[in-house]
């Protein structure tokens, strides 16, 4: 139980922080495709008896590079979709070859935070620290490129974009075992979307996004523990509630400091 709290908290903090840029860059589809594609890696790892995190890591990095490099020319959403279906196809193959298919598949899709073991804490902690360091390094370039991409050369935009995709891949690798590939979305999108409704300051919005993700995950684990309903349900439901509540608050308080009267 303590393991679950630690690992889930790390996943929430990093997922919320990285989610800040996922929402800002309009990269929700990428944040959906990389975790879902990485499912194949986990399935493959189960098949050959390797560690789940290694399988997730290899496939999410591969997916990130595929999206970044294929998307250089032409449409990003098409490159993302093609990368996703290729990886999902591999996942179907690995699952069909594996004996314990449905049980393993379920926990990968929806997570099994309450079943997390002590030996997952160290790799998760290492990935969390690494992700936050990378996020700190990319802070200014990501912010600038997300708002004013016209100012940068194509080569620089590509480098920053690839670094961002790899950051999503790292976050995926550490978060999938907690909430599963389908529900990782709720940690990377809902808290960030809620936070930006409440503040106009980028640094505060990022911290708030992590905080909302943390509260969501803690609440979900507690509720799941008492009701015996799946954690995933509560993560999704609480995420949606946080989003709705923050937007309602922003509307009534006219959101954030300074002048907000706009043509919104």
């Amino acid at each position: 139980m303590v393991n679950a709290w630690i690992v889930a908290s790390l996943a929430a903090v990093v997922g919320g922080a990285v989610g800040f840029f996922v929402v800002m860059r309009g990269a929700s589809f990428v944040a959906h495709a990389i975790p879902n594609g990485s499912f194949a890696g986990a399935a493959g790892a189960t098949l050959v008896g390797a560690s789940t995190i290694a399988g997730l890591g290899i496939f999410s990095v591969g997916g990130a590079l595929g999206i970044g490099l294929l998307g250089r020319r032409g449409r990003r959403d098409v490159a993302t979709a093609l990368t996703l279906v290729f990886m999902l196809g591999l996942g179907a193959l690995f699952l069909s070859l594996s004996a314990e298919s449905s049980e393993a598949a379920y926990s990968l899709l929806f997570g099994e935070v309450l079943g997390i073991s002590a030996n997952e804490i160290v790799p998760t902690l290492a990935l969390a620290v690494a992700s936050l360091i990378v996020l700190g390094l990319l802070w200014r370039p990501l912010l600038l490129d997300s708002v004013l991409p016209e100012r940068s050369s194509g080569r620089r935009l590509l480098a920053v974009d690839l670094a961002f995709l790899l950051l999503v891949a790292m976050t995926t690798t550490m978060t999938v075992p907690v909430v599963g590939t389908t529900l990782i979305f709720t940690l990377m999108i809902a808290p960030a979307a809620a936070a930006r409704a409440l503040t106009a300051r980028p640094g505060v919005a990022l911290a708030l996004s992590s905080a909302v993700a943390l509260v969501t995950v803690w609440g979900a684990i507690a509720l799941s523990y008492t009701t015996n309903w799946p954690v995933g349900f509560f993560v999704g439901a609480l995420g949606a509630c946080a989003y709705a509540a923050s937007h309602a608050a922003a509307r009534s308080g006219d959101g954030g400091p300074g002048r907000t009267a706009g043509r919104g």
Partner: protein
Amino acid sequence: MSDEPQSTLTHAVPERAEPQVAGETVLELAGVTVELGARRILDDVGFRLKAGELTGLIGSNGAGKTTLLRVILGLLEPTRGTVTVNGADVGRSVGYVPQKFMLDPDLPVRARDLVALGIDGQRLGVARPSRERRERVARMLGAVGAADFADARVGRLSGGEQQRVLIAHALISHPSLLLLDEPLANLDLHSARAVVELLARIAREQRIAVMISAHEMNALLPVMDRVVYLADGRAACGRAEDVVRADVLSRLYGHRVEVIRAAGRVLVVAGEGDDAEPTHPHHLDAEEH
């Protein structure tokens, strides 16, 4: 021969005494040609921009204005020709305000955050907050008349307000050259005039070269020291009264055009017939030497 710009503005006293000499060449383009596949986007374009001057880059859509700006910024390598900024190869000291774009109104970025990114937004890591930095941003916002909406989300500002913030973003790194791509498009007449006057003041007071691209030159006529007129990738350069003439523009376009002046405005229209002089696309430079 006097090189004094004919300006309708009266505040010519520079506030900041920069070490630059008046009229120093900041940007020089020579024989710049850009070919993309079989298409020639720019054809032997050459001109000079000087500190303290405001230049209009005039041309219709597709004439090559944005391509020319991207070449000057170093974002696009010309097929032939050279671009020199401050006597060196294309460097960092170029401020740029891109063409009007839509910003997400919910973007959690305030006007002052965007201006601060103009100082060092390309660097890795998080900027160390300091009072000096905050004051520098506040001074810049004040200088462009954006202090009143410094804390508003950039995506919720009006077009004219956004232009001011973007100008502050581009200026805060003290560039010697400021490029603006169609800053007046989508602005109402009043905002457009205010932005133009702000830019003219910046050029003179900060002794930097300002180049504004526009498909319509009338808003710029009162303040423009020089014009670079683009048509089909070719350029005619010089003072407005030397370039915006029927004979010069007819040669540039390769067919007869008329320049009509009425009520202080200029209209360039296609002329009757096709009796233009034989075209010599190159060396259209009307600039006095």
